[in-house]
């Protein structure tokens, strides 16, 4: 951990050496490009524990298995609930197309109906299955949707034990802002990993909406991986803590896992 922090600090200084002026920081779009260029493995699976905590402190707990695989430029993500029993086998599948302007294809398997339902993908800002992350946030994982925003580097700033690049993303137009539910997103990017350590979300009226804190960065199969994510919604007082375990980038996932049939069949 210490060596990673040192690496991060050195990388930040390498980028910023002798450059207090904002103009010498990497351009916003370049930072966004580097975030998306980060190696996150062709296949990934992990178990996700989620604590949903309301403003009174009442907690609900869920666990899910998350599978992700790249098919060329298209990313497919499958999310299978493991517990509690009342939502077990509920599953969500998204085919995230790379073409600009093409909406994703999304399906939801509801075990109570035993049916896979097609769901509209336009409302990307909807809370993902009761958590404080949106469908868009969950789909992107640590990446960003570059084509939806203008990117601006604001400053460098100390964050945790390193120096982060502070990056502001503004939706290109009102329609995108409405769809994603954000009028502005501010990222604190660790240039050693090109992963955000902190993200602040403002709603379309630019009121403070959510803060996401990412922590417990560890290398898994040579890939930097966030193990804890806490998202707090300042408008509702609700927060969600995500904890990842059993992260695996090496096992090549069966393409069938990312089909409607795989969704219906559930996890082996």
């Amino acid at each position: 951990m210490r060596s990673r922090r040192l690496l991060g600090t050195l990388a930040a200084f390498a980028l910023l050496a002798g450059a207090p002026a904002t103009a010498e920081l990497p351009a916003g779009d370049e930072i966004a490009r580097r975030i998306n260029a980060r190696d996150d493995g062709e296949s990934m699976s992990r178990t996700l524990e989620m604590e949903l905590i309301d403003k009174r402190g009442s907690k609900r707990v869920r666990s899910a298995r998350v599978l992700r695989r790249w098919f060329g430029e298209e990313k497919r993500l499958a999310f299978y609930y493991l517990s509690p029993k009342t939502v077990e086998d509920t599953a969500f599948l998204v085919h995230d197309h790379s073409e600009v302007g093409r909406e994703d294809d999304q399906w939801l398997y509801l075990p109570a109906l035993r049916k896979v339902r097609r769901i509209a993908a336009r409302d990307r800002g909807k809370n993902f299955l009761g958590t404080d992350m949106s469908y868009e946030d969950m789909k992107n994982e640590t990446r960003v949707t570059r084509s939806d925003y203008t990117w601006k580097t604001l400053r460098e700033e100390a964050c945790d034990d390193t120096v982060c690049l502070v990056l502001e993303a503004t939706p290109l137009d009102a329609e995108i802002a409405r769809a994603v539910g954000y009028g502005r997103i501010t990222y604190w990017i660790d240039p050693a990993m090109w992963i955000a350590r902190k993200v602040v979300y403002d709603d379309v009226a630019l009121r403070h909406k959510k803060t996401a804190l990412l922590s417990e960065f560890r290398e898994v199969n040579g890939i930097w991986t966030v193990h804890v994510l806490e998202v707090r919604n300042h408008q509702t007082g609700h927060r969600t803590v995500f904890r990842s375990r059993e992260v695996d980038y090496q096992t090549q996932l069966d393409p069938d896992r990312f089909t409607e049939r795989g969704l219906r069949r559930g996890l082996p």
Partner: protein, 449 residues
Amino acid sequence: MGLRAAGHGLRGLGTGALVTLATALALPGPSAGVEPPRASGTVEAEWAVGFRNTRAQKLELVVQPELDWSPSPTARLHATGRVRLDAYDRLEPGHPHPVEVSSLSRRGFAGDAADFELRELFVEAEWGRTWLTFGKQQIVWGQADGLKVLDVVNPQDFREFILDDFDDSRIPLWTLRAEVPIGEAQLELLWIPDPSFHELPEPGATYALTAPRFQPPSVPGLVTRVEPTRRPRRLLADGDVGARLQLFVSGFDLSLNYLFHYDDRPVLEAERRGDGLVRFTPRHHRTHLLGGTASSAFGDLTVRAELGWSSDRRLSVDDPGDRDLVGRTGELGYVLGLDWFGFRDSLVSFQVFQSLLLRDRPGWLRDRLDTNLTLLARHELMNERLRAEAIWIHNLNDGDGLVRPKLTYEWRTGLSVWVGADIFYGRGDGVFGEFDGRDRATLGFEWGF
């Protein structure tokens, strides 16, 4: 009678269960690191009280234990049981006689207040890229909610009319299912050697069907008698077969469906012998069902469509000149559904369901074209902790329908409570209006373990 029925249930359970377990034992042996069988389940209770006379319809406790075991990554054994206790015994007064269900799949009874059932017991295994599932299971086809066109592979128990969740009211059948990938498409093949049919409530039950279309036509001057149902009983010869091809093309989920099956609702065939009696014998007849589904998303909308053509439906006719008072016709049914996600955390879903009898003749007990509309409005609050929804089903022909508001709250992890109502309205001879006096409030909980 209760013990006898219980015995039938156990004998049926034994035969099928033995075959399934034998199949399970033939699966590849457990490999190192295989997890032990996992037990889980749900406990659900619901209290339903009539509005008009505050007479309780049910106070029910349902326990569904489940067992899952995967001896290898490509094989799984799954079992679900159900024990149901009802303090009032008004949905199925006394001991019901589920003669429409084969002894392989029949429920067992313990006294008037309890029934028990093996809901599912199947083995699933991968063979090449083909998945085979054998055992007692539910097969769900179609895209429609609340009303059925293609979702007719399994029969249904109507002890609570259509108020119970389909997952609970569908009657699982012993089925061999193969799912074969063909390129990007998937072919599903079914063989169902289990001749079982709808369970309809007996006279005197809270939701006994009394609408004219479910009754024998009256014959002036003759006394009517309904004989016991002649149910097909040959396991192999009377089995159903089906196929479904599913594919995803240009953003559309498509399916083509075919089912050669017996109509799950018997037709009442009349016989006049000149002794002043007209005897009606309920019989099931085979029909070919051919259809398909399509769905896709367009912005905030998803569109669902389902179409089914039945080659040979037989329905009662009120036509004294007809020898057996049964008319034969093809039937076309379809559903068109729109789901709108335009309001955040909300869903508004609208469906048009139409059924057309293709033959025009006098005496049909229902209109040739029967139209139902459904509207579902759902809103989720408090990070999906609280769900408010209302479902409205309206029949245009009879002007009757059903409204079902419901609030569900997730009290804590795995424990949900709800309060709701089921409100019928309309003419007494309508499918929904016949239950106009059965409006009820419900209160319940479900806990998973």
